[in-house]
Each structure stands twice: as structure tokens, then as C-alpha cells.
Point group: C2
Chain length 194, copies 2
């Protein structure tokens, strides 16, 4: 997606340790016009699929999923990371390994909001080590729903997440895939994922 | 907002301890059509105001703010609750008292994303004890930006938050104000807040 790549080049920042910061437009401040273009692009990619619900995980996936859902005309459900007294007792759970914290945490979705009749599209901001989407896949699998595909805004192609998910037979589409960050510059994969 | 009240009556659940659950459409599963109507209503209420940015706090405010921002044509910034190595070091902070946890926690916004030139509209899902919005107000005040008003989807009129905020000279509009929950039924305030 050219507009997204342009935005990453112009407004992304590369910090020490090959950390790409896109908090200018994607996960702290939100560029709503760009999010709409992202939503349209996901709809274009998945237009031939039957989708009844979009699933994401708090926090960074929520705005992207909500804006995109307008083009699919389906509800969004976001998995909760935090233990909350407000969450239903009956939940589908997934485990997400956090490399920064060196441990697993749980994500949960109330059993009320996914059923085996659903056809689920997962949407998230980043695909890096793939742990968040693996956790969401676990939630969907536990519910018996059909996991249609996953759409991510940015894939870090130099990390193993995409490979792991695709080897698990999940269809994954990224709007921009980064193959490397060299001398403070982002190198995109030329070949689009779709 | 009649559509919202209807939705609360039909799809809200009242649990023991006067807890109103709206996770069917507002803060776990998201009814995107309703969120669009909510966004339009906020725009109608604040149409005469100069607004350059919408501010909310993670997690439940994000989808509402993102959808509403489409009608204002401004970016959204969401304050972060969690310490994150990805957050800039230079932040504006606010304190939020959590009654459930019995302690204060911090919310933070990078100094890059609010400036004294901004005219800020705060948007959130619930107004109950007012703590979240007070924390956001602290962030805005620290930045020197102009805090225009706050729009909340549901105000619990039987808690003190609305009074505290209005006494602090903040203009607050709620799309539905609940005055009581009696025998498992919601009693709305007849008098709209605007």
C-alpha cells in the first residue's frame, strides 16, 4: 500500500535497536484519514471472503479494526489483556508470549461474542514475532468459529511471525512488509503479499 | 440520544452492585453502526467549537474517539496507561485514582502529540467518578492546550463525576444520563444535557 509506505518513510522513526516507531499516526496519535484508507485496502483484499466479525486485541488494534469494520459492515470484538471484574466469567482464552517480559499473558473474549457460526477476520497493527495473532487464533479455535484470515498493517518481514502463522495455514496479508532497517532507513519488500 | 437509550435498554445488562454492562456494543464487542451515530451526535453538539484534536484514554475510549474523529476531521490521541518502552520519554502526565484498586495510576501522552496551539475535545465511554477525565484534563493543562469540552457516551448521574467536572468549569455533554438503576431497570434523566 503505497500511501502507507510513504507515511512510514515520512513520519516513522527508527530508534536504537531497530525499533520502528509509528506512534505519530498508528498507535498513539491516530491519523484517521490514513486509517480509512487502510480499512478500504483490507476490504479490497478480503472482499471475496465471507466475514461476520473482526477480532483484534487491545490496545493498538482497536482503532484500526473499528475504522476497517465500517467497510465490512460487521461488529468488532477486541480481546482483553487485563483481568477485569467487568469481563464475563465465561471466556475463550489465548496465551501470548511476551518477549519483553519473558512470560506468557492471557487474552480473553467473552463467550457471548464469538460463536461457531462466525467467520472471523483478525486485524492488528503489527506482525513481528506473531505471538498476538497466535493468541487470537487460539481464542477463535476455542470458540469453534472459522478463522478466515489475518490482516496486519505492518509486517516485520525479518522476524519469524509471518512464517510461523503461514506455516500454521493461516492466510496473512500485510499492507507493508519491512525486510530490513539499514542505516536508519526502512527497506520494504517489493513483492506485495497479495 | 434516543437510539443509544434504546440500545442500553435492549442490550445493556445490569449486574449485582448496580454495574451496567454495555460490552455487547460499546466496550468489548463494538456496534460500529451505533458508534457512527454517536460520532455524528458529538459532532452536532460540538459543531460550533474549534477543535483540532480529540483526546481519549486507553482502552474503551479509543474506538469511540476514532469513529467520532471522522466527523471532526481531526487526529485522535489516546493517553497510555501502561508503562511502555515504546512511549517517548518526554510526556505529559495525569493521575487517575482507581477506586477498585485503591490507588493512583498514571496516564501519559507524548509531548509530540499535544501542543499549546491545540483545542482539545475529550471523548470517553463512561463518566462515573470522573477520575479518567480529570486525569486527561491534567494532561491537557500540562501541555498548555485549550481544553474545549468533554463528550461522554454514558454518564452515571448518580455518581459524583459530572458534578466535580462541571464545578471545575469543564463543559461536559453526555449522550445518555442514567439517574438510577431500580429493580434491574435503567432510569434515564429526561432532561438532555445539551
Amino acid at each position: 500500500m503505497e500511501l502507507l509506505k510513504k507515511k512510514i518513510i515520512e513520519d516513522g522513526r527508527i530508534l536504537e535497536g531497530n525499533i520502528l516507531k509509528v506512534d505519530n499516526f498508528l498507535n498513539h496519535q491516530l491519523d484517521i484519514g490514513l486509517l480509512n484508507e487502510i480499512g478500504k485496502e483490507f476490504k479490497k483484499i478480503f472482499s471475496h471472503k465471507k466475514i461476520t466479525k473482526i477480532l483484534t486485541a487491545e490496545v493498538s488494534g482497536i482503532a484500526i479494526a473499528a475504522i476497517a469494520a465500517q467497510y465490512f459492515d460487521v461488529p468488532v470484538v477486541f480481546a482483553k489483556k487485563t483481568e477485569s471484574k467487568n469481563l464475563d466469567q465465561e471466556t475463550y482464552e489465548g496465551s501470548v508470549y511476551s518477549y519483553t517480559k519473558g512470560k506468557y499473558y492471557k487474552i480473553r473474549v467473552s463467550k457471548r461474542y464469538i460463536s461457531k457460526e462466525d467467520h472471523i477476520l483478525i486485524i492488528d497493527d503489527f506482525l513481528a514475532n506473531g505471538q498476538a495473532i497466535l493468541g487470537l487464533k487460539e481464542v477463535v479455535d476455542a470458540s469453534g468459529a472459522n478463522l478466515v484470515a489475518a490482516g496486519v498493517v505492518i509486517e516485520k518481514g525479518f522476524q519469524e511471525g509471518g512464517k510461523i502463522l503461514r506455516e500454521a495455514n493461516l492466510e496473512v496479508h500485510a499492507l507493508a512488509t519491512i525486510d530490513a532497517m539499514v542505516n536508519g532507513k526502512v527497506v520494504f519488500r517489493n513483492h506485495e503479499q497479495y
